[in-house]
Symmetry: C3
Subunit: 382 residues, 3 copies
């Protein structure tokens, strides 16, 4: 266990691990202290996410190139997936969808923008591999178009709308996973040389021994799952206490918490003038959530959720995802960056955050009208 302890000693972020037993104990003793539980669970998830991503990378580094890339690509957003699964099991479909859309928007605008800004404050002009950014932007565009369709259909008051949206979502989920898989095949196998520099940059620190990495992966996933349950249960009540709208919590707070570990890596890459790494993490993470996490949640909802989940999002969320994708595609098309490029992305993010913060709750609720089938599912809107 030496490398793990060494890692913890050197990385102050991991000292937050002390909050993991804290939040689990508090959830037992004071289940009604929602605001405190919310804060504690956030503080506990952040270091767990950091450990998780490091363990994933170590396993990936051991298993060889293609398989490793695949592993990295599929487990990279494990934190988001586990949080979303906790919300799915609780029937909180509004929270699941808000966190999916929020993660896409937060990664493409905030993570990318802050990387450009932090990198640009240190380096006058930075360059990055356009091909990688274009591929991710193309995948995001595909996912955005897929999200548009069920929303467009279900917005009608027609009686058959929701049933059709459900069937369509199932088909789209399969289509997106196929697109994601072929995209991996393309970037990791048939045309890997085109995306070479991003690849090379990703290899960094010395990896852990495989046994430790696997054990950490398993153990931390369980811990994230336990803490996520507390988080999902407390987040709504805590939001009320802080005067935040549910839309703001789902879009901004959950997304920032879930992506904390990746952000640390993206920002440090930008400071070291390895912008390929930052762009790869930010856009790659966004496209993974859109083309892999979201469709997997739709499929899993048939097994573990109280009712099937569709891909019918609140129209405002679809618009924001669409704008974020367009903006990222436009910004990264040049392959060069300076500090103001980051400012532009962050200002777009600030516009969205401000709108969500001020959004009258009934507006947001008016979005995906169809309540989940079980009584449990209506918790999100009391």
């Amino acid at each position: 266990m030496n490398p793990l302890l060494k890692e913890i000693r050197h990385n102050p972020l991991l000292w937050l691990l002390a909050f993991v037993p804290g939040v689990l104990a508090a959830a037992r003793l004071k289940p009604e202290a929602h605001t405190a539980l919310f804060v504690l669970s956030v503080l506990a998830i952040v270091p767990l996410a950091a450990l998780l991503s490091q363990a994933t990378e170590s396993v990936a580094a051991k298993t060889g190139d293609a398989a490793g890339g695949l592993l990295n690509a599929t487990l990279g957003n494990l934190t988001e997936l586990v949080i979303a699964l906790a919300a799915l099991r609780a029937g909180e479909y509004m929270l699941v969808k808000a966190s999916i859309a929020g993660a896409i928007v937060t990664n493409t605008l905030f993570m990318l923008g802050a990387s450009f800004l932090l990198g640009g404050l240190k380096h006058h002009v930075q360059e990055f591999n356009r091909a990688g950014a274009r591929l991710q932007a193309g995948l995001l565009l595909l996912a955005t178009i897929a999200l548009l369709m069920p929303s467009a259909i279900a917005e009608a008051d027609s009686a058959s709308g929701p049933a059709v949206a459900q069937k369509l979502s199932l088909g789209l989920a399969v289509l997106l996973i196929v697109g994601y898989g072929l995209g991996l095949l393309f970037s990791l196998k048939t045309h890997r040389e085109v995306f070479a520099s991003a690849e090379h940059a990703e290899a960094g620190e010395a990896p852990w021994p495989i046994g430790l990495a696997l054990a950490t992966l398993a153990g931390v996933t369980v811990l994230v799952a336990l803490v996520s349950e507390v988080f999902v249960e407390s987040v709504q009540k805590a939001a009320d206490a802080f005067g935040m709208t549910p839309a703001f919590v789902g879009f901004i707070v959950v997304a920032l918490v879930g992506a904390a570990a990746e952000m640390a890596a993206a920002f440090s890459g930008a400071r070291k003038n390895r912008l390929d790494l930052s762009v790869g993490i930010a856009l790659g993470s966004a496209s993974q959530i859109a083309l892999f996490v979201a469709p997997v949640l739709v499929l899993l909802s048939y097994v573990i959720g109280p009712a099937p989940m569709d891909l019918h999002f609140w129209p405002g969320a679809v618009v924001m995802v669409f704008i974020a994708t367009l903006t990222a595609a436009f910004i990264t098309s040049g392959g060069r960056s300076a500090w103001f490029v980051g400012v532009l992305l962050l200002l777009v993010y600030a516009i969205f955050a401000m709108t969500l913060y001020l959004l009258p709750p009934e507006r947001y609720a008016a979005g995906p009208e169809r309540p989940p089938a079980t009584a449990d599912g209506s918790k999100w809107h009391p």
Copy 2:
């Protein structure tokens, strides 16, 4: 008639010509066998379209550069135009509009995507003339913006909406034809050197003698017109029999049938690493339908239709055309292609096709509410 017979002997696609007398005879003898007539008319239109496009090219090759390019550009979508005229005369305005929007979407997504995929499976990376793709994308963008306007105006329930949409459509039709004409002047005359490679690639097989080409052009056009009438009459009933929505038929089936011949040419160009040819056919065909065929149909509707036709499309169709244009502009802006680029375009097309297939019919009908003025015109929605 030697070259024509030789062509038929060597091109198995043309053996389908046997279905032409078949379908005309069947339409006389069994006018109520809609499904059989639909299948027969599809099988008959495909080889006729192939002959028509070859005859057009031969005439174009004879008449010299500028005039030939003009002829090729204006007669290239004769099949689509003749089918649409048959639907126009029958007052099937919904079918006309669906087939226009469907042809744009099918050409920009399916034809271009399949070309990229088929070419990319054989060649690692392919390059094409960006200038040509940009020009066509710009023209398509112009047409898409024009389609947005009447739909936006007519969606209101205001009493004057439809009348205004009609007046506006007339003005827009003239504007689009002017834009198309100036675009030809630009690409064939004043700046032809910029688009040179596309031009050069277009010249291919040895052309037919001019007399044969003209006779084929005239004769085949008449045959296409006759078969189209059977097709338009049977397509809706056949769709019901196959369980397909009217939207799916208009968008996907009619568009694929109408573009069959061009697709053969585009795919064969891609396999031969002459991607300029494929991109030119796919995007050129789409922009021709948007900026020439559609406006001409609006103008002709004043003469031959039961009532004037406007450019007010079902909002879903406008969204799909807009997304297809944006996607094509984004994808072709790099001037390079690999197999996955084709997959991306095809997946977007699959998303549209899936949505249209599942669309509840009343949703689609709810689009362009205004029924044509005559009783005849309401056939499309019984």
Copy 3:
């Protein structure tokens, strides 16, 4: 006063200054002759705007690089600002908003398009600095996204909608001004070498003495303010007389009048093959109105307007601004131009103008429903 008189003698546009006393006298003597007053005020504003922009440039040239650039950037749209202030004081919020959106659309489509066309008719292919165009397009995109949000929120019938849109508009106004300021810092200070050629091109004629320039600036601003008041009072009645819709007047007529002087400079730059100058004026002016003039008007409305103004625009205006921005970003991304590029932009502008000209007035009125708080404010919609 020699340079001023010399300028007037050599510039036939300035002979129109004779209309300034004319319109002010006429407004006193015949306040009910709206059509005549409208025509006279247009004829008087055009030369005043030309003088204003020349005086600004002269002051800017004197005060050194960074400060001069700042001055030029903040006073460049003084005419538009003064006209809008006159409308704001009169409570004509619909006119203010229409003229803001119209100025953005007119500058990005008409001014840029006509520059490309006029330049392209003289020069075969023209090049310009892509970096400058990309920066302005990025700023415009930011402003467009900001305009989308309050409109999306306020369109709901929820009781709290307007209040929220007002709060949000205030926050967005601050955000946009911050973005504009940082953009100036970026292009004039930290990365000025990237935008160098545009900068250099801007210096042109010999500047006036600083005293004359400052006196002209002050005097002409007062005259513009006086004439603007006549213009704002007469424009609506005159529009009725000419059979023009209020939307057409606000979007097209006011925007063309306000930008007349900049257009003269942009067109002359394009003819002299200094396209950087033209692109800088057209897009820079548009982004300045979107990120500086509009937010400043929102802030000033708390002080001088009869009621606070929000950024809730008529949805059609938001769509047009969005399309104009997308089109300009697409068109300028190549950094090269020929005559047909200008035609494309002008055709998009013609589509908008035609739509606005035919728009049933009640449609437009149905946009920003919320009437200003005072009785005065309802003048625009009798």
